[in-house]
Symmetry: C2
Subunit: 185 residues, 2 copies
Amino acid sequence: MSNAPTLLREQEVFATPWFSLMARTWAENSPPHYCIRTKDYVSVVAITKDRKLILVRQFRSAVGRETMELPAGHVEPGQTPEEAARLELSEETGHRAERFTLLGELIPDTGRMSNRMWCFFAEDAEPIKDHEPEAGIQVVLHDGPIGRVLTDGMEHALNLAAILLATLSGRLAVDLSRTTTREPA
Amino acid sequence: MSNAPTLLREQEVFATPWFSLMARTWAENSPPHYCIRTKDYVSVVAITKDRKLILVRQFRSAVGRETMELPAGHVEPGQTPEEAARLELSEETGHRAERFTLLGELIPDTGRMSNRMWCFFAEDAEPIKDHEPEAGIQVVLHDGPIGRVLTDGMEHALNLAAILLATLSGRLAVDLSRTTTREPA
């Protein structure tokens, strides 16, 4: 955009261990816009060899209850997004996969968040022997169809964006039992 | 969950005109969890009579550049989510539609945000006569397929979640030219 504003000042007004609240000034004598600065997100659409979608149940403070979600987390300093995705899949679910494919890089919330979300597809995932389960996380293997995964309680919008990318790419069938784990359409 | 934590204290630690940063304590002698409290979101998947998806281009401070998105906004006090969705469609895009259908109610970001996102499908949308365009917003009518809408720059994850709900409900075809605007599958 030719007339895009120029950032004049950016100030951290509050810091938490997980994110910072930033005040951004785009024009003199105008009030700042506030946004959240945090590490990039990764989300993993992972399918087992027998075509089950790997999900996690956990208590979420922000919404005050349990949710059912894709394995996901932050990209830590020094990690590539794919390394972060592999680590989240193994730590949260006790599964590993050879092949990770980048589905796309999205913006989590254009109005509030300045970070990116990296969406991966992991195929032929298999259990890791002697995995130590992560406290507070319950692993759910869901055999779809995707519509039923949603009505069964998957309601995290960022996850559903990753699911859309996986289905549009031909890697994930809307009916999971038709998902082939080698040859995307 | 039988052993779900109980919220002991919640404190607003920073307020902006658009949202508040909340510190939530779930256990004595434990550090708080921080989350963002704001009004609920609405997102509108709106299709014109000639099967074009109605999008808006605008500069977004949080990401420092222009984005292409669904019409969306907050549910203001006293509004129902559907009223908010109708207002956003008309104000941002200069279009109106008789029939709005609730596609689903999602969580925008289970890790950070405590609000909800209401996703609507609006069909047979038509231009409002003498509409005064909103400053800084450019309306884009896209004739898909959905995969091309994405590669053309629609990268807002919350929007893609609404698109997934619209396609799974049978109201939006992945190839927009096949979207029928009366009889969902």
